[in-house]
Symmetry: C3
Subunit: 239 residues, 3 copies
């Protein structure tokens, strides 16, 4: 299974061309669109979110991840093998949280280049064909490298920030729910936030936090868009 | 064929995770996204719309339907078998119109629970795996129940209301077109509406009604968004 | 592979119903959503964009193309065979640029009609089943016609206009990049526009043009939406 994780949005031909490039290389590929609206050009929050989602995919999944503000520049193109799953994408921090959370890792550099390479669409031209190859057990075009050659960042382990806002206006944070007590009172722009078990347990009109379906702390207003009512955006600090 | 009918929107990881859960259970599943923008949290209008769409799908289709404002509460999780098609989802009225329109029905309760169950995402954790099982002819995890145990509502058979607004601003109603004369003059907020056969027969700038491709009465303005011009929304009354 | 190219948007049941109609006829069809947000009701710009995208698909692809403002009127339903690829859709100019760019062509008229034909959704009722047949090598329902019977238009070969605006606000033009010098200064509503090789080479805050991943001239503002900042829309003239 090849899983797509990009900031392409569903507008335009980009996702369709990515898939066509995969099918060209591997006509029986099974492709799942995980997200195409990950925080746009925002590697840090996309990296944190990705780490919370991969547990729901089978062991031999190949993730084709493209959040790549530096496309066309000198950044490496890489592949990581993490506990049986493969991650293909740019070496810009997008796999930072995967790297930290796991100790059995292998890193590869993509050395292959297509005959025709666009300057703006390495997703289609490089990452898609490599992901298609790997999903078929073909590891040509990549070369083992040391983990030390992967670019690393000093972002916090738990991001006390909003990392994603869904269509309902719920505010997903980068806080691992298992690391925080149900008694904890969080705070967003001066508003205190208590725990609630489910949507239906939430008092109307009051921000609550709960453990979302990806095991992250999420903040919501029952029946309303917390993002609109509190003018929240990705990157806002939660304390 | 497994057909997805939800109010998840295409934002966020929700649809992708639903599909991954299906493929985990049934790796060769064929999945069709019917709609992910059904009226949000709005069981009545989603139920009416669903009933108009199922005729275009093969007999052995399995519909995975998730409009579930009460997720995490005590509402049952059910499966209905209606004329060869299966419907998996919450017992909250979403299948009300299917139940009325058919007499050869079988009802089941989902008794299976996964090892890990989130409080907010039963679509991924319960409905998707059960739909995947049924599509493979595996009926474990569900138990036959009496039709009387399904929650019923007293909504009108034909909803003289707007039940869905499409991207063009066309206003879909819950009125079955075969039950209404082409001479009928409808009315929306005081504006009279005549019948037109096709878009190209419509006079410019005048609301007309026609039989849409799902056999429902639909109201439109040629070349404009009726919804914008008439500030219409789902639930508005048509007389 | 069947490729979908429509102006349906991803809202509503339309794309799902198109796919169901394909699977009904050809249960093992492989379907790719190329675009569902091509310029709405806008045949000329959709035709130009289509011609730039087909090179990235395999030779035996079947394109199911629906931009059809005249649906239900007398316009023909046609199939074109162009260098091994098939194009199914309305005879309204949507294939104008394919016709011009190629000389080994065959034209067919769709003579088949389904038992039940809606007036507004020939995509589902006619084009999808025919595309599914052709993808399986079944050419019943279509009849060879002369190329002279295809409706033609006198649109310019290179459209010095904006033909599509993507989610980032980048302005795609209908200008073939190989036909224009890198020294060329373009102009949009009085603003001069110089060439840049990639996003990362662009000066901040200045419109630049570059060769996009489909070999067309594209105009962008680094890190901003050119469409918003310059209030641009499809059809705007570039000189």
């Amino acid at each position: 299974m090849i899983i797509l994780y990009t900031d392409f949005t569903l507008q335009g031909p980009y996702v369709g061309q990515l898939k066509a490039a995969i099918y060209k290389q591997y006509s029986n590929a099974k492709i799942v669109d995980l997200m195409h609206d990950v925080p746009s050009f925002d590697v840090k929050h996309s990296a944190c979110l990705l780490n919370s989602l991969i547990q729901y995919f089978p062991e031999d999944s190949v993730f084709c991840c493209v959040v790549d503000p530096g496309v066309g520049s000198a950044r490496q193109a890489i592949v990581l093998k993490v506990a049986g799953q493969y991650f293909v994408g740019p070496d810009n921090g997008l796999f930072e949280y995967l790297l930290r959370s796991n100790d059995k890792l292998q890193a590869y550099k993509i050395s292959w280049q297509p005959a025709q390479l666009s300057t703006t669409f390495h997703g289609r031209d490089i990452f898609a064909p490599i992901a298609a190859n790997i999903a078929q057990g073909n590891f040509s075009g990549i070369e083992s490298i040391s983990l030390d050659s992967i670019t690393c960042f000093d972002w916090a382990n738990d991001l006390f920030e909003i990392i994603y806002i869904d269509a309902y206006g719920n505010l997903m944070t980068g806080i691992t729910a298992s690391g925080i007590s149900k008694e904890a009172i969080l705070e967003l722009n001066g508003t205190k936030i208590q725990f609630a078990k489910t949507y239906t347990d939430m008092p109307t009109g009051k921000l609550c936090w709960y453990v979302n379906s990806n095991q992250l702390v999420e903040i919501a207003l029952r029946g309303q868009s917390a993002a609109n009512v509190y003018s929240s955006k990705i990157g806002d600090i939660v304390v």
